[in-house]
């Protein structure tokens, strides 16, 4: 795969579609959550307004160099993650910048934003930020494990690390999806997915009442806006990986929208039904329930 200049506008198009989709999707998810609580919830366009408002805040402060760069790392991480993975299977147009690297690149690039954000939050000097980071990182180490095992299992299954090839191998009917050919891997990965979506029961990192929203506690105005932008891109980018690895990918935008929405809904279902874990509880949970599935997946594949 080689680089061509046309890929840049194509990628920007993907980005544009995903940002809009993400804004609406997160609002919709919030609305669904509200409906569970018998509320109307926010208007579907609320995210746009919030975003504009935060960009429109006139003043801001900075705690220093890294604090300033934190949200930049964060958003670059989200955008990069999205663009390093082909969005639509079989479409040269929406294969984005995946020529730069394979699945492993995407897996490790997830941490780019988290690391930068953690550093920025750290420079604010706020203990809550540090506590949030400490919790987030702790939980992440355990949550990533089943996913890593599942990815390894899937890579072994298809004997490739290229996302495109993995999707290609799942074409030709629903039963060819990894979901059905390697159910243990998918289950393990979905457990891990719950842990990485910052929804209950794994949202102790943000804990608004206890450590006011954790790492981003000092962020505001345009910083916050950047992070909000990331907040709508990042889950979609992440789900795209899951979709490609486990759920047959998407050959067109409508399928893409549907699948992303449904996968997102998994974490919503769990989230509205369960209360929050403490960090050490969630670590144990991942190690006891999710890891064995992952092990089964790599042993049986």
């Amino acid at each position: 795969m080689e680089f061509e200049w046309i890929k840049i506008p194509y990628s920007l198009l993907t980005l544009f579609i995903v940002i809009n989709f993400g804004l609406l999707l997160t609002a919709l998810i919030q609305k669904i959550g509200a409906r569970v609580g018998r509320r109307h919830g926010i208007p579907i366009y609320q995210n746009y307004i919030d975003l504009i408002k935060n960009y429109a805040i006139r003043s801001s402060i900075t705690h220093g160099f890294m604090f300033y760069l934190g949200p930049v790392f964060r958003l670059s991480g989200g955008v990069g993650l999205l663009l390093f993975v082909p969005t639509i299977y079989g479409s040269e147009m929406f294969s984005n910048l995946s020529f730069a690297g394979d699945l492993i690149l995407a897996l490790y690039f997830v941490f780019f934003g988290a690391l930068g954000m953690a550093l920025g939050a750290g420079e604010s000097g706020h203990p809550h930020a540090a506590i949030g980071v400490s919790r987030g990182l702790s939980q992440m180490t355990a949550a990533e494990l089943p996913f890593a095992l599942a990815v390894f299992s899937v890579a072994l299954q298809y004997q490739t690390l290229s996302v495109t090839d993995i999707v290609a191998a799942q074409q030709g009917g629903v039963l060819n999806w990894t979901l059905f050919t390697n159910p243990f891997a998918v289950t393990a990965a979905m457990f891990s997915f719950l842990g990485s979506m910052m929804r209950p029961p794994f949202d102790v990192v943000l804990a608004p009442q206890e450590i006011p929203i954790g790492p981003p506690t000092e962020y505001h105005s345009s910083y916050l806006a950047l992070m909000q932008t990331n907040r709508v891109i990042f889950p979609v980018a992440k789900i795209v990986i899951y979709m490609n690895l486990f759920f047959g990918g998407a050959a067109s935008w409508p399928v893409f929208f549907l699948k992303v929405f449904l996968i997102y809904m998994v974490s919503v279902f769990v989230g509205v039904a369960f209360p929050r874990f403490r960090v050490e509880q969630s670590i144990r949970w991942f190690l006891i329930w999710a890891m064995p599935l992952g092990i089964l997946a790599i042993v049986l594949v």
Binding site: H40, I49, K53, A56, R58, S59, P212, E218, Y219
Partner: protein
């Protein structure tokens, strides 16, 4: 002045001694500045619309009125549908609701929180106490009129006003914001000395920097 805010002489790791003045070294001393609106009128209009439709309230219940805000999150009133939501930190909030009586001790915290909010920022005084002291009019430790200490955009009268009144207040607030009249932040910056003088008159142990960034 609290002990930890007094100047102290510190010995560095290399044995060099120097003075640390916490108020200077640990806090930014710059006064607040007036933040101009967007250069293009139309842009500012769009911005004001967005601001009005996305009101983020600081989750800081300063008095008994805070109890009236909780029902707003419930299915019965559901303020979220009006673009209103609560944020746990002043950095991210636009609207500060002073919910009822404000003792001088809380005033100190309220000032600090207000100053930590970013421009444009709005204040709603909730209940009679914020207007003229209400039933605490002769109390030895509550302030009687909020607008002497913070620029107030809107009062919601009552003792206490019901959640419906609050919702109506939000609608009013939106109108003010859309009209571009909610410039409390700039007002505060412009009359900074006056506000500070008022604040210091009632807060006898002023032990914080002039402006809490």
């Amino acid at each position: 002045m609290k002990e930890e805010l007094k100047k102290r002489v510190i010995k560095g790791p290399d044995g060099f001694e120097f003075e640390v003045d916490p108020l200077q070294d640990y806090y930014c001393e710059a006064p607040p500045t007036v933040q101009p609106a967007a250069y293009q009128k139309i842009v500012e209009k769009i911005f004001n619309w967005a601001r009005s439709e996305s009101i983020w309230i600081l989750g800081f219940g300063t008095g008994c009125g805070a109890i009236e805000m909780r029902p707003l999150m419930t299915p019965r009133f559901d303020a979220y549908r009006f673009g209103v939501q609560w944020r746990p930190t002043p950095r991210q909030a636009n609207l500060f609701i002073i919910s009822g009586y404000l003792s001088t001790k809380t005033l100190k915290r309220a000032i600090r929180s207000y100053e930590q909010m970013q421009n444009p920022k709005y204040v709603i005084g909730l209940g009679s106490c914020t207007i003229n002291g209400g039933m605490y009019w002769d109390s030895y430790n509550t302030i009687k009129r909020l607008d002497d200490y913070l620029p107030v955009d809107l009062y919601i009268a009552g003792c206490m006003p019901r959640p419906e009144a609050l919702l109506a207040g939000f609608e009013e607030m939106k109108k003010i914001i859309r009209a571009g009249k909610a410039e409390g932040g700039n007002l505060y910056a412009e009359n900074f000395d006056w506000y500070k003088a008022n604040q210091k008159k009632v807060i006898h142990d002023w032990d914080m920097p002039e402006h809490s960034w």
